[in-house]
């Protein structure tokens, strides 16, 4: 049974008089099963982050529909918890209070909040830092707080928008395997956006490859690598074959749409 269904999604930025309209997404279709880990990979400007914002209902589509467990998605809500590239922690709150934020908005009683937040901090290995403020933590630790905050509300799906994009390459790999370790425990449905091909393959059950301007799904690739996965898997021939397949797709469509730079331009024009 499908968990999240995205059907005919289209997003047109209308620039008004004088400016050119920009078609960010056009006819995007895919479905995600319950407990599936799906990654979306594509060049800058393919609208993959925009797609996530649409699913979170922080943006409104021009056409098409998004259904989660059969219900149409119309407004933002904790049933779809986001993890952001810039962490988006509140600097005036301690680590513990940051994790409690989602629980407050979900309406969990104050007495229960702390216990739930602590349990999730324990899970990401930050229990000892609950009284710290975000500015006292490293980037990797901040994103662990972001992940704990998102998971603590027990969402139906976790939406991750290039969550490790602001981190160093080594930290990034460590965070990837950490995320898998956490995911293996309860198999929460995850939709994870990245522009890093290796990251996309390493994490996913299925990779959705997108093209730029307008953003479209060009292929869905099932990743038949066994779990649990170790970092060394990246050197195996079946892994490198996936990497080659995705790279060929991306190269082809980047060439056909111009260049990486042009895609970036389009993205910045869209805002």
């Amino acid at each position: 049974m499908s968990h999240l269904v995205v059907d005919g999604l289209r997003l047109l930025y209308e620039q008004g008089a004088g400016g050119e309209d920009f078609l960010a997404l056009d006819d995007v279709n895919f479905a995600i099963g319950d407990g599936e880990f799906v990654t979306i990979v594509g060049p800058s400007g393919c609208g993959k982050s925009t797609l996530l914002m649409l699913i979170a209902a922080l943006l409104r589509p021009s056409a098409g529909s998004i259904r989660l467990n059969g219900r149409a998605v119309a407004t933002p809500g904790w049933d779809r918890a986001l993890v952001f590239q810039d962490f988006a922690l509140l600097p005036w709150r301690t680590v513990l209070k940051n994790v409690e934020l989602g629980l407050e908005l979900k309406g969990v009683a104050p007495s229960a909040r702390q216990e739930i937040a602590r349990r999730h901090l324990q899970m990401v290995g930050l229990r000892a830092f609950e009284r710290h403020f975000p500015h006292q933590l490293s980037g990797g630790m901040r994103q662990r707080v972001g992940i704990a905050r998102a998971l603590s509300v027990e969402p139906e799906i976790l939406l991750m928008d290039e969550p490790f994009g602001a981190l160093d390459a080594q930290i990034r790999q460590v965070m990837g395997s950490e995320l898998l370790r956490i995911w293996e425990r309860d198999r929460k449905t995850i939709l994870f956006v990245t522009h890093d091909i290796d990251e996309a393959i390493y994490l996913a059950d299925r990779v959705i490859v997108m093209s730029a301007s307008p953003g479209r799904v060009v292929r869905e690739i099932r990743i038949a690598l066994e779990r649990p996965r170790r970092l060394e898997i990246r050197n195996r021939p079946d892994f490198t074959a996936y990497r080659q397949e995705i790279w060929d797709l991306l190269e082809e469509q980047v060439r056909s749409s111009g260049s990486w730079e042009e895609a970036d331009d389009a993205a910045s024009r869209a805002g």
Binding site: P76, A81, L89, W92, L105, H135
Partner: protein
Amino acid sequence: MTLLRAQVSAARPRRRASFARIERPLIGVLAVAAFLAAWQIVGSREIIRSDLISYPSEIVATFIEMSRSGELGANVTVTLIEFVEGFIPACLFGVAAGLALALSRRLRYLVAPLFAALYSAPMIAFVPVIVVWFGVGRESKITMVFLAAVIPIIINTAAGVNEVSEAWIRAVRAFGAGRRQIIAKAILPGAFPAVMAGIRLGIGRSIVSLVAAEMYVSIFGIGRLIQVYSNSGKAAPIFVLVGIISTFGLVCVNALRTLEARLAPWRGGR
């Protein structure tokens, strides 16, 4: 041998650091002491006429005398109450108005030019008009305090709200927060440091306006006392009164700093 040398070189910067810690207050205290001593000598020896510049021991004696007679206590109380009655409403209204101004584009277009003009206008110039409106009683002075304080509070709150990071709002909104929750959980705490800066500015401006208004029309208050003693030809009581006013301002501003450090410890680094 090398170990010993390492210990010696490690000890030296520590000694230097501990001196640096007392160096600043030490120089400050010495400078003030030297200034007071020089003032005392120049004034008490009548090198410059003491009724013009007075001197520290005379000022202290005057302070004690004015306190004993009850004159100081009664007038300081009047000024203090006027200040509080004008300032607290200015804080409440200022934060609410600043928030509304930042959140509503139309409201901003409507009143922004007015506020910009009022901000640069000296409040003292309004005293005659306000006296005509509210009479010579305490209402005039409370109004002066309110007006002088409310404008920097409004302007700073609005600026603070506009600078609230989009990421904080996004984080709160993503969990399904409504407008009120976005304001309570992201906008107000994010704008808090700017609000405090506005309140600090408001303290200085409203003290100046209050004393000026008291000098202009009043039967009680510190400003009124300054007015009275300015006709006596003696400098000492004026120094006493000015000293009280600046002490009050300093206490308020430092109390706010402490409060801010308590409530917003995250400002240390971001």
